[in-house]
Symmetry: C2
Subunit: 625 residues, 2 copies
């Protein structure tokens, strides 16, 4: 390391060490972004003291075990400050120093936003307002595991305009999550202009206090003040703490402090050299006296006695059961069977039946109230730390959290979503409550597994499969009671469809899922009576899709394929089937919802919007006749 | 109307009239929901005095012109209270009384959530936390038009956990929107349990005050207190007002007040009769003395001198321009050309180039800061009142507001969204900033028009077409500079593709859009040199799609079709083309992004993720060879 060779006579104080570290973080950030030709050095500079205080004094972590459960967690919600974080990692021994100054070598993710490809990153940042919900998920996980791990979340000031921040603020206070300490780097300047509140620190304080947090306003460049604030946060019980740090964008960068027009711009080479030169002169050498703070504790270990997964309780032809009810039943079984499973709700637990989990394992159930972004964000944090979170609400309301779902996919987190009340089949509650775009939304994310069970047995199986699978998963669930067509011994697998009707003289293949499977079965009976044989597939797994079974069945049915779904036409089950078969020159005829629905009786809507057995029969006759 | 025949000796007071009206609203709500067999009578009962005060004293509106621009606006964000609203409409002469008690006749939308099919509804409710953003949009529209119209937004208490409410709260205070008065019906009980804050009115007050609002706490069943609060709101200048009304769920319904377990449940017939009987006895007949409050003002009229739409300034082969830049240029032209056009931003105006609109028409530009749900919600309110709002941000961040976009589709609002920085072509900023699911998201909504211009000329045209079209529209825009391939005279139309290369011996049709069009053109050149002719279509309009041109071109190219797109595979351009051609037995080979991306140089990513000219050439050779 390059330092000035100043002799150090007086004992070195922690503040001197940290000040040197902060300077070092600034130097690295300027160099790294100039070398990369992109990045946000001024956003790094404002956070240098905050990050130095956290990484070199406040937080406990073992650089040799970056993912150790006993480490304190750091969530960089303010994604722009990535270089300062990499610098801190490098200083702390978490990250090879040589990577720092040639960021493009490592993958230029480093210029902007951390991704989970790097050590010590659980959750990708880069979409603002997601760090606090994730941090609260991590904190809840620590509490569940009786760990005294603390969670630090660094936010930007502009991002606190995101509603998700306030959803998280309210929930964290409600649950008294006192192992979270959030920090806002209030540097006054957004990307395209000043923030709404600029440096009105009292307004920040009033808001956070009103939301039930302990709020501490500090000069964010005053290391002693920062250390005091973090110490106070540690001893604050029963509520979370926020450190509101008044800072300057570009602080310490000669000529760039608090200046508009320098967001996201690296310094030109000569300027970088000049500014770094000035910073280097201010180094005292104290930084070399830093010693790391190893965690002195252990988190409670988890034990799990592996037994056979509980079996579905439903019998073929038994009382009709809704798939959402079977989801709730399965969640309850999982509550007892797998201690890693947790459940989250958005004030609809009596409709989604996730209240069955609450009854069985209240300590692992988190009521997220009507705040879906935070519900999904908390799931991301919980998953990042090893829990298996099942977050459920009406499918349509998961659209509220699509940006979080997108980021969960980017992080490839082990989150599980249950979306209930899909399609026009919900009936009276009307279009605002109908999930008609959920397949499009989830299947677009290429690493999401998307399951669509049709009866209670398969919904139970889907829930068990989701719990076992490592990776983001969505289960599409319906409101109405359906007949039970599979027995408890039936085997389901991800990527496997079910051939439910088929013979030797099939004229058309009908691929369905959920309520439309029962329409297809009705069509089968009607057509059979008329002497026309069809083949019926229950798709079950939309992504990955069972191309093999689809192809074989399409071939067996004269290459005539109809898909039928209670979902909008674009991006649904039909498109998935079409993509699986298109290159094989097998045409696919989609039957789906093609316009905005309205409310009515479920049966009437299924008829009116053209996804009933009648529509199937007509199409089959047109194709086969 | 059935009233008790009590003689009225003393002069009738306004409070007596309103109390009768409130009782009438309760009676109607109980009857209507029991008749329908579903609905939320207890949620109606808690709001009865609030709605009575607003509709029968505070608000000014002309029942004969329910959509009159001079009317005060009422936004029912708390969708569950729809029956109480219909009752008020009926009492006010806006709605045929006979429809009220046989809700199923009108369309059972009435049981749950108002839809725009009904008079006096601008924006559908039913997804909580969307009313306030929409209300602020309506209020901004009134301000723009120098109208003294006031906007009342009735929210539930549970929904104030939605972050979008706080995004709107912050913005409204920032803009000093004092013609908005919001009301929270704090009835303590959510769907599945008590709300987080229950009846802690001081905490509600502290939060709203901290967000810059005038907050007035009242007993929500005390009509005099409500009238005073609304009067105070009217005289409050420079900031919006919130009336925090402490109420009881089921108020006035004997045996059901403040009871858990009655959310969304109509009373059984006999119980309905009993409770209504008690309520009827409390009617005094004062309700008959109500006279309506006509608006005494006019909103400023809009005038527009129609001239020819401004023409694109770009020349074929001129300096390369990004489609986002052309979008900004066109917005600037629209700012001058069409006074109904307004623009909204989420702190990225210097990246999306919407700052060009700001420069031309600052009074019609709304900086939404980093709060996308509210930005979209405000657009919905603005559109509902006749403005043509263009809201733009990075395409990936529109996913933040997908639930709002879904509701805008249900309301068929005239909103326009520009999503910039799509695909891996953005390069260094990494996956968190790449819009790779935006086509899936927007095209799933069946009434959305989805345009995907490839060069500056077509981006300009798409923006002009969007402004002219009545209906929800999305424009997909890219980051990199592209060559200009169309001249200013080129005609574009919604639903029309452009055949950009084609001859008599074409072996394969390649359908592309945005950056992949230029890859297809490179492939064309390379293949031509190798003696293989291909046909290239610039899709331009993804929804509606130009089936005719696609079919004709596919036929002309031997029924071999390749699609190539900088979007995830499911729900993208390829699926749209596939659906258009599938029933014609024309196989379609999709080239798209099939896994989570990372950051890098744009060129490297286009190659690595397999959407380059090289991938096209290979596929063409495989098909044609």
């Amino acid at each position: 390391m390059t330092t000035t060779a100043a002799s150090v006579a007086a004992p070195i104080t922690l503040i001197e060490i940290l000040q040197d570290k902060a300077t070092r973080l600034r130097i690295d950030s300027i160099r790294a972004t100039t070398a990369a030709g992109s990045g946000h050095p001024t956003s790094c500079a404002s956070a240098a003291e905050i990050v130095a205080a956290l990484f070199f004094s406040v937080m406990r972590y073992d650089p040799k075990q970056p993912h150790g459960a006993a480490n304190d967690a750091f969530v960089l919600s303010k994604g722009h400050a990535a270089p300062v974080l990499y610098s801190a990692w490098s200083e702390a021994g978490l990250f090879p120093r040589e990577h720092l100054l040639s960021l493009r070598q490592v993958g230029s993710d480093l210029e902007g936003h951390p991704t989970p490809r790097l050590p010590y990153v659980d959750v990708a940042s880069g979409s603002l307002g997601q760090g606090l919900p994730a941090g609260i998920g991590i904190a809840l996980h620590a509490r569940l595991n009786k760990s005294d791990q603390r969670v630090y979340v660094l936010m930007g000031d502009g991002e606190s305009a995101e509603g998700s921040v306030w959803e998280a603020a309210e929930l964290a206070a409600h649950y008294g999550v006192d192992n979270v300490c959030a920090i806002i780097d209030v540097n006054r300047l957004g990307q395209s202009g000043p923030t709404m509140l600029q440096h009105r620190m009292d307004m920040y304080r009033a808001r956070w206090e009103a939301f039930g947090w302990r709020a501490i306003v500090v000069d964010g460049h005053d290391l002693a003040a920062l250390l005091n604030a973090f110490a106070e946060a540690k001893t604050t019980k029963g509520r979370p703490t926020i450190v509101l740090a008044e800072t300057l964008k570009g602080k310490g960068m000669d000529g760039y402090e608090d200046k508009e027009g320098w967001h996201g711009k690296p310094l030109p080479k000569d300027e970088a050299q000049r500014v770094v030169g000035i910073l280097e002169k201010s180094l005292t050498g104290a930084e070399d006296h830093w010693t790391s703070n190893l965690p002195s504790r252990r988190s409670a270990g988890e034990t799990r006695t592996v037994t056979a997964a509980p079996k579905s309780p439903y019998k073929i032809g038994g009382t009709e059961v809704a798939t959402r009810k079977a989801f709730g039943d399965a969640l309850q079984a999982l509550a007892k069977f797998n201690p890693r499973v947790v459940a989250l709700d958005g004030d609809v637990k009596n409709s989604t039946h996730s209240d069955e989990f609450l009854a069985a394992a209240p300590e692992r159930f988190f009521e997220g109230y009507i705040a879906e972004q935070n519900m999904v964000g908390m799931s991301m944090g919980l998953a990042a730390r090893g829990a298996i979170p099942f977050a459920s609400t009406f499918a349509c309301f998961l659209s509220r959290a699509y940006d979080f779902i997108r980021m969960a996919a980017i992080s490839n987190l082990n989150v599980k979503f249950g979306g209930t009340h899909v399609g026009v089949a919900i009936g009276e509650d009307g279009p605002s409550q109908m999930g008609l775009e959920d397949i499009a939304m989830f299947a677009a994310q290429p690493n999401f597994t998307v399951l669509y069970p049709s009866d209670a047995t398969s919904a139970w199986a889907a829930t068990m499969l989701a719990a076992d699978l490592v990776g983001p998963t969505y289960i599409r669930l319906g409101r109405p009671n359906n007949p039970i067509i599979y027995g408890p011994e039936e085997q389901f697998a991800i990527g496997k469809a079910k051939l439910v009707r088929g013979g030797d003289n099939d004229r058309v293949l009908v691929v369905a899922g959920g309520v439309t499977l029962f329409e297809a079965l009705k069509a089968y009976d009607e057509l059979k009576n008329a002497g026309i044989q069809i083949r019926v597939i229950d798709l079950f797994s939309i992504q990955p899709i069972d191309r093999e079974t689809l192809m074989a069945s399409a071939r067996a049915a004269g290459n005539r394929v109809i898909t039928v779904e209670d979902h909008y036409s674009h991006g649904g089950l039909g498109d998935a089937v079409q993509s699986a078969l298109s290159s094989e020159r097998i045409p696919v005829y989609k039957i789906a919802i093609t316009r905005i629905a309205h409310s009515g009786k479920p049966r009437d809507l299924i008829e009116k919007f053209g996804i009933s057995s009648k529509a199937i029969v007509e199409k089959v006759r047109a194709l086969a006749g």
